[in-house]
Subunit: 223 residues, 2 copies
Amino acid sequence: MPDAADPAAMTARRKFRREGEERRRQDLIEATLDSVAEHGLQGASLRTIALRAGVTAGLIRHYFPGKEELLQEAYTALVGRMTEQAKAALAVEDASPRQRLAAFVAANLNAPIVDARVFSLWATFLGRANADPTLARAHREGYLGFRNEVEAVVAEVLAAERRKPDESELRRHAIAINAIIDGLWIEGCLAAEMFSPGELAAIGIKAIEAELGLAPEKQFRET
Amino acid sequence: MPDAADPAAMTARRKFRREGEERRRQDLIEATLDSVAEHGLQGASLRTIALRAGVTAGLIRHYFPGKEELLQEAYTALVGRMTEQAKAALAVEDASPRQRLAAFVAANLNAPIVDARVFSLWATFLGRANADPTLARAHREGYLGFRNEVEAVVAEVLAAERRKPDESELRRHAIAINAIIDGLWIEGCLAAEMFSPGELAAIGIKAIEAELGLAPEKQFRET
DNA sequence: CGGCTATTTATACACTTGCACAATAAGCCT
DNA sequence: AGGCTTATTGTGCAAGTGTATAAATAGCCG
């Protein structure tokens, strides 16, 4: 028991609250992403992460076998969130395939997906994909899922135009459209101030319609 | 003087050669890029870099004020090399604007520009662009230079087709084409085995011709 | 050949890192 | 209320970090 007369024993142990397991893991992952986004992988030490999450460093070992696993789970969570947001834009009701495609593109080329922090995370983790197969796999899965979504919408759009593309043509369109979205996304993230609001989406939609050989259509009135 | 009878004095000092200043700086920069590509920024310690360059860690301080400056110079060198290679493809003689554009795209979507190591470096450094304005500026300059090249060729191509685009249209095309190349480049770097040789270039050229509204042309016979 | 200079090595230092582990207390269960 | 589990803290440690600086030697100049 601490003796009040002994100065060295005056240092009180920090108060804490027990949180649910899932909540703590989530907080730690979020703190990890914040740290990586701000200072890169090198600046994301266990102590920094723990400080941000409001706990002490030792606790991390209680939830994750080591730092590497924490980083992997954080990246997986990031990829999951990104693709989830992107796909959500496809779920608009009462819309033509072409409108849904346009909405999908617009969603991917505006905030919150176009975001410097997200880009920083994406780039930082992907830079290690060469060396870390787990990261490479997480990316690959996210990418393929995304491209499949694109391919599905493209098929619908072309079907609505009474066109019947073969498999390889569909694949080519999906690859190209994916590239257009990715490329514009990067440009927007890295230099948001160079583009007026909505400009990237407009460029993207036009480029994609050209790729698909769609006749230019009158503008929709959108908010 | 070392005494042969004293075991502690037996440790011989390492032999070395004096190299020219420029050569040493170049070697150190190369070793830095190799280290970063292989182990990321966190794994690129001064000792690792020095070992790879065949010198000891202390020497780095003789050529660079600190680690940060070494990394910045390394990234600048990387960007310079990339854009230089890309632009070189534009310098083909006796070719129509359209052929030059196609050659430019093909050069950017094949080895050695499509390369996992280069991508790893690109991503790793860009992940820190948010935090490090020097890196951000190095990227910005490389990007704008690249886009200006694109814009210039596009202008030539359209002029050859007797079309007179206004400034904003030219800008839109350049942004879109840049995005197509970037996006396909990334896909190729991250998953080279998913594409057959030349496939990315073919997809890119087709997409760009669609963007510019060029009529499909007969294939050139190329090696 | 003998000295000079600046390139290069080697060592020291203060600090941070990831991880291991013992000590502690929060909060559920009975 | 009181005990038990276990989530959480705090401390320690060996390895590695960037930087500073002293010591050594390679190679040019006379």
